[in-house]
């Protein structure tokens, strides 16, 4: 493998890791507030469809991107309603959301298959894209990739350096204490769910308006990968970046192995990303003793007075 190929591999990792990154960041935000939402896959695919349709109708990919996020948000509101409003089980509600979202998007999206919508094109950033090695890997993509660079630091700042961020984390860690302090736990959990849904929708939108076009089943399991990466990242936005690019990179790597003429059966090569996720999860779970899930993740707050 040559030097150029390595750089192109890493660039591919960033490119294909980005949609997963958006969704992972969203899920981290949701889980920090104490709500587990396994419906990322469903929210992503609805976001993908909404973004594509809006971009096609308005001619503006930026507007499409926004509406992709809104579609994810709308679906996540159902999760909020069931779990926060009606005290329903979060694991099952999330699964139901995935089933419903996939069904809805495939049902409504059929007429749009094979059509075209305006896209975010590659836009190499001036100066930055000229830096050797770093430039081609990080700064020769489209605007949505650059935007995704900004989200992790901002999210980290919000969660760790603002009063609201602290309150949101308290809703996931010590809901009883938060209530005693006069905070509305359910309001912060609602925020967590909706923002998370918005980002999942953005991740889906990236697929249809920055990478390829709409088709049924476009998210192809990426939402589930995002759920896995949240734990891999220990609920830390910074580590989510690493996880998403690592996953994208391994996928790109196995294709390159095939292209170079390996004799390993493709089924076994395709296992690599999943195996790696498990291995990394296992290794990091053992070492990271202090970094656990929010204490009240997945636990509903009794609605009675």
């Amino acid at each position: 493998m040559t030097w150029e190929m390595l750089i192109s591999l890493l660039a591919a990792a960033v490119q294909s890791g980005t949609p997963v990154l958006y969704a992972t960041l969203g899920e981290i935000f949701t889980e920090r507030s104490g709500i587990l939402n396994l419906g990322v896959e469903g929210m992503m695919i609805c976001g993908a469809l909404a973004a594509f349709v809006v971009a096609q109708m308005t001619g503006s990919p930026a507007l499409g991107f926004l509406f992709g996020g809104m579609a994810g948000l709308a679906l996540s509101a159902l999760h909020g309603l069931v779990c926060i409003g009606f005290n329903g089980n979060q694991v099952v509600s999330g699964l139901a959301l995935t089933i419903l979202g996939t069904g809805l998007a495939n049902y409504l999206g059929t007429p749009f298959i094979g059509t075209e919508a305006p896209k975010f094109l590659a836009y190499p950033l001036p100066l930055l894209s000229r830096i050797p090695v770093i430039g081609p890997i990080f700064f020769q993509h489209n605007m949505l990739v650059y935007l995704s660079f900004l989200v992790p630091p901002l999210m980290w700042l919000f969660l760790n350096r603002t009063r609201s961020g602290l309150a949101l984390r308290a809703a996931g860690e010590y809901p009883a204490a938060a209530t005693a302090a006069g905070l509305s736990v359910s309001a912060f959990r609602w925020t967590g769910v909706l923002v998370g849904g918005f980002f999942a929708g953005l991740g889906g939108a990236y697929l249809t308006i920055a990478y390829t076009s709409w088709t049924t089943g476009i998210s192809a399991g990426r939402g589930w990968i995002a759920v896995a990466l949240v734990i891999f990242a220990f609920w830390h936005p910074g580590r989510a970046v690493l996880g998403a690019y690592l996953f994208g990179g391994v996928m790109a790597f196995q294709f390159r192995l095939q292209a170079m003429g390996t004799h390993i059966p493709s089924s076994l090569l395709l296992m690599l990303p999943y195996l790696l996720t498990v291995i990394v999860l296992v290794l990091s779970s053992r070492r990271g003793k202090g970094k656990q899930a929010p204490a009240f993740l997945g636990v509903n707050i009794e609605p009675s007075e």
């Binding site: 294909s16 075209e116 390829t212 088709t215 390159r256």
Partner: protein
């Protein structure tokens, strides 16, 4: 007041029942009911979509009514769907995936009055035939274009699943390329998806990375075309003319056109000339073809390709005519022989010059 509401409710229910009743009465008046069983959603713009385009054409025929069931898993689900079609008095059933073969045979034996047609298999019964298109012929022609246009002599092939249909296509593509450019090699990447644009685009990029300058595909999405266009190299389409997705890259596409075949079958079943045999039509019937060749391909090459197409139509040329060796150099088809249909149906080896594994 309450009586009024109950009355209105009754009227509503009655009108619903009446509605259902009239709907089924209309159906009974139709002459020929044709059912299709698809393995994927028709919206996938690929394999099932191509068949459904054919269905839509026969649906326009006088006295023909069609219906389909999509996303039917191979196995018992397929058997149930076909049974239900037979029970609902369908006259002709097309099933378009290899795994539907055995279920269809079972159903065909239970319903001797219904005509069954299975796509891509090899079994027949008194009331069951099979059909397919010789896509490899079109693949060969697109391979010639690719072989002539490559400068690096590395052709990339993004492929779905290692089944004979796909392997046969890759081999024909390689043979076509080698016919005009003996140094051409074909690199294969399996995606294990039929339609995942993002993954398939990524697979195409990996081929570009190792120096491929023409990308061909046996995938239903235009992902690989987009990758080629972005990199400024060439691409070969599949299923339908994919030029819209990559106007600068797209050289030519190997395309399906099922409408004439399905029309012919409906006519045959109607006038009683249908026979339970293998219908394996090729480029001569238009079931497969190549799209218009892009103008950037030099005229002399276009001429050469069209001449070869003419020879295939007139059966003067056979794509798999010996001597043909496999990847390891072992002779698979001897000098002076051509591959038989069963040999082609079960092809599980790559010809010399293809880099990749068939597992």
């Amino acid at each position: 007041m309450r009586k009024w509401i109950t009355g209105a409710g009754f009227a509503l229910v009655l009108s619903m029942i009446f509605w259902c009743g009239t709907a089924s009465a209309e159906e009974a008046a139709k002459e020929l009911k044709v059912g299709f069983v698809y393995v994927s959603p028709v919206g996938d713009a690929g394999w099932s979509y191509a068949h459904d385009q054919g269905r839509l054409v026969i649906d326009e025929m006088e006295g023909v009514e069609t219906a389909y069931v999509e996303k039917v898993p191979e196995g018992p689900d397929a058997e149930r769907v076909m049974l239900n079609m037979a029970r609902k008095d369908f006259d002709l059933v097309f099933a378009t995936s290899f795994g539907y073969m055995d279920p269809m045979l079972k159903v065909a034996q239970r319903f001797p009055d219904v005509t069954f047609m299975h796509c891509s298999g090899f079994k027949t019964a008194d009331n069951m035939g099979n059909y397919f298109g010789r896509m490899y012929q079109a693949r060969y022609l697109t391979g010639m274009v690719a072989g002539a246009m490559t400068e690096s002599n590395v052709l990339g092939f993004v492929a779905a699943f290692p089944i004979p249909e796909v392997i046969r296509g890759i081999n024909a593509f390689a043979l076509g390329a080698q016919a005009v450019n003996p140094d051409a090699t074909v690199r294969v990447v399996w995606t294990k998806t039929w339609y995942d644009p993002a993954t398939e685009k990524e697979a195409a990029k990996s081929l570009l990375d190792i120096g491929a300058d023409v990308i061909a595909q046996h995938q239903d999405s235009p992902g690989p075309q987009e990758a080629a266009q972005e990199q400024g190299v060439y691409s070969i389409g599949y299923n339908t003319d994919m030029r819209a997705f990559a106007p600068k890259a797209h050289l030519v596409a190997a395309v399906w056109n099922w409408a004439p075949f399905y029309t012919e079958m409906v006519k045959q079943v109607r006038n009683g000339t249908w026979e339970p045999k293998a219908y394996w039509y090729g480029i001569e019937k238009g079931i497969v073809d190549i799209s218009t060749i892009n103008d950037i391909v030099p005229q002399e090459i276009q001429k050469q390709v069209l001449e070869r197409k003419g020879e295939i139509v007139e059966e003067k040329f056979h794509v798999f005519s010996g001597p043909i060796r496999d990847q390891k150099g072992k002779e698979r088809i001897a000098e002076g022989k051509t591959a038989t249909d069963p040999e082609m149906l079960g092809m599980d080896w790559f010809v010399e010059g293809v880099v990749g594994t068939t597992e």
